[in-house]
């Protein structure tokens, strides 16, 4: 029951955060002077093409970009009826991309799932790598295993993601015959999901996952190692050892459980950086996620497209954080019953 209350409470906080985020996003995007349509109208005027102006003016009125900013926001978010009744984010209406001349929903469609897929793969990769390596590094602390993993970890933290991506792509293609660019072979694009398509996507995912996950895995590994080392110095570990418990069994049965807490909680702080990384890496590697869309939309001041992508990215991290918080509450009763603050 307490868990359910906690879940509801966290969910409501998330919704409130989302509203604040939407205001923030809208503000940031409308910050630069001018917008796509007025730029276009000016350009058309300058070149003397009057035909396009009417269309641009129509779009301006249609998406109420001629209204004051606060009204624009309310209409975009769906809190206030637009020119044609309710049609905003809340109603599932994402607006129009002026640059591509298409509804935003059509444009981002498949890219959304690919974004979720790439980030999910990265999270799984981080757990799969950081868990065994972190335990190993702590159990064998101050040996070459520890030092090597620390060195690799530091290197992973220090190398810019995008360069790692390029270099790995080059060598992966050369020596392992891994495909370059994209998330699937071209012939599967637009095709329904099939076994072959899955296989193609999985093979294409190897390098992006590795690149996006490395720095996160390094950070998590170090944290797990530090936590485990703290636990290993405690008297109960000594007791277990004195009783003749085998080392691996002792390790997994007691200290690991305690050290595991931050491991789950960390996903909350890790996800934002992960999503950041995936945006950057997608741009460099030409993955069909929302990263490249965001970049081009931001550069051309395509209001609705960039706002939607930013909102989606924020939503993704917020949901991830929510899940990690709930998992943590399941795992650790102290959080469920204890103070919610601090």
């Amino acid at each position: 029951m307490a868990l359910l209350r906690f879940a509801v409470f966290r969910f409501l906080t998330m919704l409130a955060t989302l509203v604040v985020v939407s205001v923030l996003v809208f503000l940031i995007i409308t910050l630069p002077p001018g917008d796509y349509l007025s730029n276009q109208i000016n350009e058309l005027r300058a070149t003397g093409q009057s035909a396009g102006i009417a269309k641009a003016e129509f779009l301006r009125a249609e998406y109420s970009l001629d209204q004051p900013l606060w009204k624009q926001y309310l209409i975009w978010a769906g809190f206030m009826p637009g020119p044609h009744g309710f049609a905003g984010l809340l109603q599932g209406e994402f607006g129009w991309s002026f640059e591509f001349d298409k509804p935003v929903a059509d444009l981002v469609g498949g890219a959304l799932w690919m974004t979720v897929l790439v980030n999910l793969a990265a999270v799984l990769f981080i757990y799969a790598v950081a868990l065994p390596l972190g335990i190993l590094a702590a159990a064998k602390s101050k040996t070459w295993v520890d030092y090597t993993s620390a060195f690799v970890g530091y290197l992973g933290l220090a190398t810019p993601n995008f360069l790692l991506a390029l270099i790995l792509f080059y060598y992966g293609n050369r020596y392992l015959n891994l495909p370059i660019g994209g998330l699937m072979d071209p012939q599967y694009e637009g095709q329904p999901m099939s076994f072959d398509k899955m296989k193609s996507v999985l093979i294409h995912l190897i390098i992006p996952t590795f690149v996006i996950g490395t720095s996160g895995a390094a950070a998590m590994m170090q944290r797990l190692r530090a936590n485990l080392l703290d636990e290993l110095g405690k008297p109960y570990v000594e007791t277990a050892r004195a009783k003749g418990m085998s080392e691996p069994r002792m390790l997994t049965k007691y200290p690991l459980r305690v050290a595991f807490n931050p491991f789950v909680a960390d996903i909350g702080t890790l996800l934002p950086s992960l999503v950041s990384g995936s945006v950057l890496v997608s741009v460099v590697l030409g993955l069909q996620t929302i990263g490249p869309l965001l970049l081009s939309a931001l550069k051309s001041q395509d209001l609705f497209l960039s706002a939607f992508v930013l909102m989606f990215v924020a939503l993704l991290t917020l949901i991830g954080t929510l899940i990690s918080d709930l998992l943590l509450a399941l795992l650790d009763p102290r959080i469920r019953f204890g103070g919610r603050e601090r």
Partner: protein, 383 residues
């Protein structure tokens, strides 16, 4: 030492009160800074990193002196020239540092320029020679360089890029922006973080609630898309200097929540201490209590954690410039340089255009080790 009949041991030497006092106080009398230094010294990697960073930052004003070429000097005949070695021995004899002049030849198979060194005629490097004009530390005009290319030859230690500019010189000039971006950014983040964090922690209540929510929202958002959005808002007609400051401020604006949280939690625990109560009862104003009694308690710790977030900013600048949303062309930074190495083709054919990643990796690593060392040295719970 002799054993007494009752089993105790007693030293025969006469008691010397001064020696005892000395032995006790060797560490106790040291100043805090000295203790810190003694502990920091033990972290060898941190020490080496600190020295390296110090040297790097000290050399920034002298970039023009060390670099053989100006950052935007174009040698049209040497587009994509590969790195040249600096040689000391010519045909087995030591003749001092020299290079071999290269001539460009068209390779008709791959349709690219090949630079063939002429190993028969070594050209001696010149030292403290006159070259292109630059300003020392941005103030003193000069044209003396540490070393320059000999007449009729080039000195591309790290090769040349697509416009025939020397990569080595550009790395030195790029360091001026890339290394300071982190410092400016961390200053912004530090000021905001400490002010808001201490307000939240000291006064509590409604202010605390508001600041906490802001921190939560900012921390739950992915940084890069926000950086992108904010830097896309920078007008394109601004000069490089203002773009540089805006970019570093943007990096700082999104970084402060972590710091503010640390400050706040420290304040929450410290404000219950007796010395704070005493100060308050004596009528000290909140600003005085915060500045004189609370902040000094953990400022050193904050500095250590700030050191650890500088590398993130350096990487952030690199990423932004790399994507074309940060610093732009006439400005030289490591990210701008890497913009040239954006595609696979250039990494495959001209791998030296990716060399700027080496200083990035090294500097980021150094900051990490340095920060770790500082943190370890300041940790009061250290055994």
């Amino acid at each position: 030492m002799t054993m007494q009949p009752d089993g105790r041991y007693v030293d025969q030497a006469p008691y010397d009160p001064e020696a005892a006092a000395e032995a006790r106080s060797a560490e106790l009398d040291m100043s805090n800074a000295r203790l810190l230094w003694l502990r920091f010294k033990q972290h060898k990697l941190g020490l080496v990193s600190a020295i390296f960073l110090l040297l790097s930052y000290l050399s920034l004003p002298f970039a023009g002196f060390i670099a053989p070429y100006a950052p935007n000097e174009r040698l049209e005949d040497y587009i994509y020239a590969p790195p040249q070695g600096m040689h000391f021995f010519h045909e087995g004899k030591f003749i001092g540092p020299h290079v071999y002049p290269t001539t460009a030849e068209m390779d008709l198979e791959s349709f690219s320029w090949k630079y063939v060194p002429d190993t028969s005629s070594p050209a001696m490097l010149e030292f403290f020679c006159e070259g292109s004009d630059y300003k020392l530390a941005g103030l003193i005009p000069s044209n003396t360089h540490l070393f320059c290319a000999p007449e009729g030859a080039t000195m591309f230690l790290f090769g040349a890029d697509r416009l025939g500019r020397d990569v080595f010189s550009r790395i030195l000039y790029g360091a001026q922006l890339s290394l300071t971006v982190g410092l400016v950014g961390i200053t912004v983040s530090f000021v905001i973080g400490i002010v808001l964090g201490s307000i939240a922690g000291y006064f509590g209540g409604f202010l605390d609630w508001i600041i906490n929510r802001v921190i939560e929202v900012l921390r739950s958002l992915p940084e890069l898309p926000l950086w992108l959005a904010l830097s896309a808002a920078v007008p394109s007609h601004w000069g490089p200097v203002s773009v540089f400051f805006i970019i570093s401020i943007i990096l700082g604006i999104l970084d402060w929540p972590g710091l503010a949280r640390a400050v706040r939690s420290k304040f929450l625990s410290l404000r219950e201490e007796e010395f704070v109560k005493a100060a308050e009862m004596m009528g000290a104003k909140p600003s005085r209590v915060i500045k004189k009694h609370l902040l000094p308690n953990f400022l050193s710790h904050l500095i250590a954690s700030a050191t650890l977030s500088i590398p993130a900013m350096i990487l952030g600048e690199t990423a932004l410039s790399f994507l074309g949303l940060g610093l732009r062309a006439p400005a030289v930074s490591w990210g701008v340089m890497l913009n040239d190495a954006q595609n696979l083709a250039s990494i495959e054919i001209y791998p030296w255009t990716a060399i700027p990643m080496l200083p990035i990796v090294i500097v980021v690593l150094a900051f990490n080790f340095f920060g770790d060392g500082l943190r370890d040295a300041m940790d009061p719970n250290r055994s």
